[in-house]
Amino acid sequence: MRTYRSRAGIARTTLIAIIAIIIIAGIVAGYMFMQQSATSKKNVIIIGTTDKVTDLDPAMAYDFFTWEVLSNIGEGFFKYKPGTLELVPGLAESYEVQEGGKVWILKLRKGLKFKDGTELTAEAAKWSIERVARIEGDPAWFVTDFVEKVEVVDKYTLKITLFQPVAFFKAVLAVPTYFPISPKSYPADKVSPDNTAGGIGPYYIEKFVRDQEIVLKANPNYYEKPKTEKIIIKFYKDATALRLAIESGEIDIAWRTLNPSDIVDLKKKKDLQVIEGKGAFIRYIVFNTRIPPFDNKLVRQALAAALNRKAIVDKVFLGTVSPLYSLVPAGMWSHIDAFKDKYGEGPNYDLAKQLLKQAGYSETNKLKIQLWYTPSHYGSTEADVAAVIKESWEKTGMVEVEIKSAEWSTYIELTRGQGLPVTLCGWYPDYLDPDNFLFPFLHTNSNRWLGKPYSNPDLDVILEKAQVETDQNKRAQLYVDVQKVLAEDAPIVPIFQGKLFIVAKKDIKGIVLDPYMLLRYWLIYRG
């Protein structure tokens, strides 16, 4: 009995100690809560993302988010007017095109300085472009494929001579690869991946902690004042963490990439706003025409006709993407709904059955195909996309689909090497021009990356002609012709075009989402 009472006594003492700890913890938590509520600052906006910064060097950067950061800490000779696809002067205050588009004369803005105090001159701009070619990084082709030489005309005038006229070169000049940087801050012939010097843009990098945060501060040397003094980008591992962060008020803006179901849920939150914009990224199915039975046009046409885009858009993406009927995204000049015109809105099962019958298939002699996808590179919805496609093709009663998947690195290897019969792929444009949505896919010498799925010498001629044609109306007609051939031959079948979504606190204003897709931080402010 004595022992029992003593143990109970000890338990009581410990209990009191625990209660005391809880009270102290409560007081500390209360204090911490006060700290939490003090995190909203007028001149600071926190943006959360699941993206990554790879190489902060314009000579090596070749991914969506790093380009976004670079385009906020630097600027090209041209830039897109927010909300449009119109290219307006950036660091070049004026320009002149000579010799039928072969020579570009750029007059730079005067009095602009890099972060290290070096003045922006034609010499620095020439050095920056030549550096990209010298380093031969991933995006070097933006320079080496087009530019024959770069010359300094005078202190503020640059002359770029191309191998041949390039109709879309103005758009190429707007990509971060061409951003002038300071020769004092970057090594001449090697990549500087963590270099935060940047170019001349609305912001400069105050702090960069890889995988954690980037702090951007308004650049006093830029010719326009950003609306918010400080932008902080915070990195999250996945969409769930990003969603929780915006819901808990930890960040002001949740940008790329939330799950479709998160977007639908967050639309219902009273303290948040969901902003939607057109995106220029596209998803499509590739049929390798070198592999039977996809060498048979009737088979490809039948599958194109039976594709149920609406089911993919509604069931898998809950309306957060739009059906696409061409490789050129809707809203871009020259776009036509080529597949809709040829096969209807779809799924057109009658037409599909008729074509399959012509190709020699029936309910008893089914077309057997393998459909490949990669499970994470294009988001967690990919398996569902494949399942809906399988369902829509099998509804013809004449097709049997086996779904197969491979992780990204294997997927690319298989696609490029062996050429998989049917694959699901996606495309983020390098520059905003129809050429970038057609040439890399359909030109015989350019679609090696897709396993050379298609070759049409007649189409190659049209695509090459469109690249050098400087009259936009004539170019548009050429691209319309290409899209008609694409729908007829159906080596690649467009599925949908992405939309852009941003979830932000109600007091955040100035967000512009357009097909340029990179967020302009300098327009955003707290209202």
Partner: protein, 337 residues
């Protein structure tokens, strides 16, 4: 040479072949995995020339045996090599950038798990088969079987989204700066007398530490309970009781100290489990540590970084288990090597 010194030396020497074998296994497994690392780095759009150029730069054009010898030689020089992606930074720099985050999370989760485990185990052993004992034993089973991402998300929802009292992800508020000395934010904030930094780093540590700590505490609860029950029924405890030693002193000074030896063994064993748990916890809480770093690099087939990180982990685990063995000897004078 004392027996302890000889033991330590033997253990250190034995670690060398262990790490060598591990390194070889990792080297082979990574290369057996399907997927070309060069393609994973450059992506779909790259040209053949770019791919071949990078393959040569990374030394992946050499025969496998040559790559292996190169790698072993560089490890012998304590050179972990350079990452294959994103500017090819030295692997050791990448590890040193991410390791403090994992260490900080591991230490705090370890403290939480031991505190909860020892306290619940102790309470459980005081009244065997009572309601409290049964409840705590159920707690220990439930805690051990919790799925970290799910449990973490529940805590995030409650404390982050609904109550809004604790942050859900990251290591510190982006609005607070902490000068880095050791990379352990709590310690750095104390060293630099940064009170705001201290508060923010503790706030951000709470949820991940509790998540991982509770999951790991289940083992300690059961172990402390059974160990305490064993010790409390031994002759020397009965003898101490007979001599009228106060109960507090009896329990904490004599019983718990003796019951602690198996717990200490478990602490050593738990270290590798702690690191594994930290991987899941880090992903759930976007904690920028070694776990998320390693997972990402495996995805990119960044061979050198994955190999370097695993060798680093192996070294760490063997050193910790060695340290635990030494501590045994200090705690229990009966143990001799």
């Amino acid at each position: 040479m004392t027996s302890l010194k000889a033991y330590v030396l033997t253990r250190l020497l034995l670690s060398i072949p262990m790490i060598f074998i591990l390194l070889t296994i990792v080297f082979v497994i990574l290369r057996l995995l399907p997927g070309d690392p060069v393609l994973a780095i450059v992506g779909m759009k790259a040209s053949e020339e770019q791919i071949e150029k990078l393959r040569k730069q990374l030394g992946l054009d050499k025969p496998l045996w040559m790559q292996y010898i190169d790698y072993v030689l560089s490890i012998l020089r304590l050179d972990f090599g350079r990452s294959m992606i994103w500017g090819r930074r030295p692997v050791i720099t990448e590890i040193m950038e991410h390791f403090p985050a994992t260490l900080e999370l591991s230490i705090s989760a370890f403290i939480v798990s031991v505190l909860i485990g020892v306290a619940t185990g102790l309470f459980s052993s005081l009244k065997p088969s009572s309601k409290l004992d049964i409840s705590l034993r159920i707690f220990s089973i439930v805690a051990y079987s919790l799925f970290i991402p799910m449990f973490g998300m529940i805590l995030q929802l409650i404390f982050g989204v609904y109550l809004r009292i604790l942050p859900v992800a990251g290591r510190k508020s982006p609005l607070v700066d902490i000068d880095t000395v050791t990379g352990l934010y709590v310690l750095d904030s104390i060293l630099t007398l940064n009170f705001e930094g201290l508060i923010t780093s503790i706030r951000y540590l709470i949820l991940p530490s509790i998540t991982l700590g509770i999951v790991l505490s289940g083992v300690y609860t059961r172990l402390v309970r059974s160990s305490m029950l064993d010790v409390l029924s031994t002759d020397f405890i009965r003898a101490l009781k007979a001599r009228g030693i106060p109960k507090n002193q009896l329990l904490f000074k004599h019983a718990l100290k003796n019951a602690f030896i198996p717990v200490l063994t478990m602490m050593g064993l738990q270290f590798s489990i702690l690191l594994a748990g930290a991987v899941l916890t880090e992903t759930t809480f976007s904690w920028p540590g070694m776990g998320t770093f390693l997972m990402e690099r495996i995805e990119y087939r960044d061979y050198t970084t994955v190999q370097g990180t695993i060798v680093f982990f192996a070294l760490l685990v063997s050193l910790v288990s060695l340290a635990v063995d030494i501590v045994y000897a200090l705690i229990d004078p009966r143990i001799r090597y």
